[in-house]
């Protein structure tokens, strides 16, 4: 088990008062709370400080923490021999739990004592981050999750149990979305309902498609003559390539819609894919092409700046 210095995490001394602890936590929470912070690693930092606060704000847990002694953060350590006797129901081995679990057990005993041994408690909700590729999110996928589940025995002593489950992710999930697996969080105690497992979905960005809600956007570069004359192009979509008809006179930034080619919605329909027209010009042309462009310039009476010229006349 790795030691954590809860006082250092909150930036306070070992003699800090309950009020100092609260103030330090609130100050850091304002900065790092994942719902409001854009700091890098905010979520990780916040979890660490919430864990520290959870222990130090409770006098019983703080006393148990202080009795562990002082070590370097991250150093491997075992609680002193008499610590288990005093705080963990005569437990002597702690290999199967995490550092924070040492104190979670105390809360369990305290709650059972306060509400009576038969009081039921709901299991905790768990959260896990699931990283998906764009294709996995688009088509749906099945993933394996390795969880470390905190359980309590009949004496309220905590232990970590490994659990591996397979999870089917529905198609069309988006970055930042949350999915729920009912009953797969912590076990309820004395008939309390089991907690749920929440999955925070993170989807890798794709080199071609940009996502907005259930719609997808893709850049479609066209040569000037393709935009003027119209053409048919082969266009990739996540569900397979399609032919897209580009009408004559297509303008730059125009969005050509491919209906139902976006991400699936829960109701079975799907968003759209929009091809955004870009008109690109060749970086180098030969003499013959230059002559043709000159000929076009001389023949055409198209004036793309007519509206600007009108404005300039008004100003005089």
């Amino acid at each position: 088990m790795k030691y954590k210095d809860y006082y250092a995490i909150l930036g306070i001394g070992r003699d800090a008062s309950a009020d100092d602890i609260k103030k330090a936590y609130r100050k850091l929470a304002r900065k790092y709370h994942p719902d409001v912070s854009k700091e890098p690693n905010a979520e990780e930092k916040f979890k660490e400080m919430a864990e520290a606060y959870e222990t130090l704000k409770d006098p019983e847990k703080r006393a148990a923490y202080d009795q562990l002694g002082r070590y370097t953060p991250g150093q491997d350590f075992q609680p002193p021999p008499d610590w288990g006797q005093q705080f963990a129901g005569a437990r002597t081995a702690f290999d199967d739990i995490d550092f924070a679990d040492l104190f979670a057990g105390l809360a369990g005993r305290h709650a059972a004592g306060a509400r009576g041994a038969r009081a039921f408690t709901s299991g905790r909700d768990y959260e896990a981050v699931v990283r998906l590729t764009f294709d996995q999110a688009f088509h749906g996928t099945e993933i394996e999750l390795d969880l470390s589940v905190l359980e309590f025995d009949e004496n309220g002593t905590p232990r970590r149990a490994p659990r591996r489950i397979k999870v089917r992710i529905p198609k069309g999930v988006t970055d930042g979305q949350q999915l729920r697996i009912p009953g797969k969080g912590g076990k309820g105690v004395n008939g309390g309902r089991d907690g749920d497992l929440y999955l925070d979905i993170a989807v890798e960005s794709h080199p071609l498609y940009r996502v907005s809600g259930q719609d997808l956007y893709l850049d479609l570069p066209l040569a000037p003559w393709e935009a003027v004359l119209g053409t048919t192009v082969r266009l990739p979509t996540p569900a397979g390539a399609v032919s897209l008809k580009v009408p004559p006179g297509t303008r730059a930034s125009q969005q050509l819609r491919l209906s139902g080619r976006g991400l699936s919605r829960p109701d079975g329909a799907a968003g759209n894919l929009y091809a955004i027209v870009q008109i690109v010009v060749p970086s180098a042309i030969d003499e013959r092409q230059r002559a043709l462009y000159r000929q076009l310039a001389e023949t055409s009476n198209f004036n793309p700046r007519a509206h600007l010229e009108q404005e300039a006349v008004h100003e005089h």
């Binding site: 609130r26 929470a29 304002r30 709370h33 719902d35 409001v36 916040f46 919430a50 909700d125 099945e142 394996e144 591996r164 489950i165 397979k166 999870v167 089917r168 992710i169 529905p170 999930v173 979305q177 949350q178 999915l179 729920r180 697996i181 009912p182 797969k184 309902r193 749920d196 999955l199 940009r210 996502v211 907005s212 809600g213 719609d215 997808l216 956007y217 850049d219 570069p221 730059a252 930034s253 969005q255 829960p266 929009y274 955004i276 027209v277 870009q278 690109v280």
Partner: protein
């Protein structure tokens, strides 16, 4: 080894959820959740109905409320204000994503 397979559900999979289920999923006490309804942070589908039901996305709002309440020690009124800010940030982020997605990248 035979590993059990489970379906991950979209929170907004089902159109509406009931009051009891919302309490259960939010991790908040019924009185706290009721204050959020009174402050307008959670809006029942039909506020006049004797049995409230909510759009399924309310679970996300209620869970955020539970988290903020616990982590920041907020009272119900402050919680309702913060939730409004969080909702506004989410709206603006979605708008920004749509704008970014809809503009061709430079080549």
């Amino acid at each position: 080894m035979n590993i059990e397979t489970f379906e991950a559900l979209r929170i907004d999979e089902h159109g509406e959820i009931g009051w009891t289920q919302l309490i259960e999923l939010s991790g908040l006490a019924e009185a706290e959740l009721r204050e959020l309804v009174e402050d307008g942070a959670l809006v029942p589908v039909d506020p006049q109905s004797a049995q409230w039901s909510f759009h399924a996305y309310s679970v996300v709002v209620a869970r955020t409320a539970g988290r903020l309440r616990r982590d920041l020690d907020l009272d119900a009124h402050a919680l309702a204000v913060v939730l409004r800010f969080v909702a506004r940030i989410e709206e603006l982020e979605a708008e920004l994503r749509a704008l970014r997605a809809g503009v061709a990248t430079s080549r």
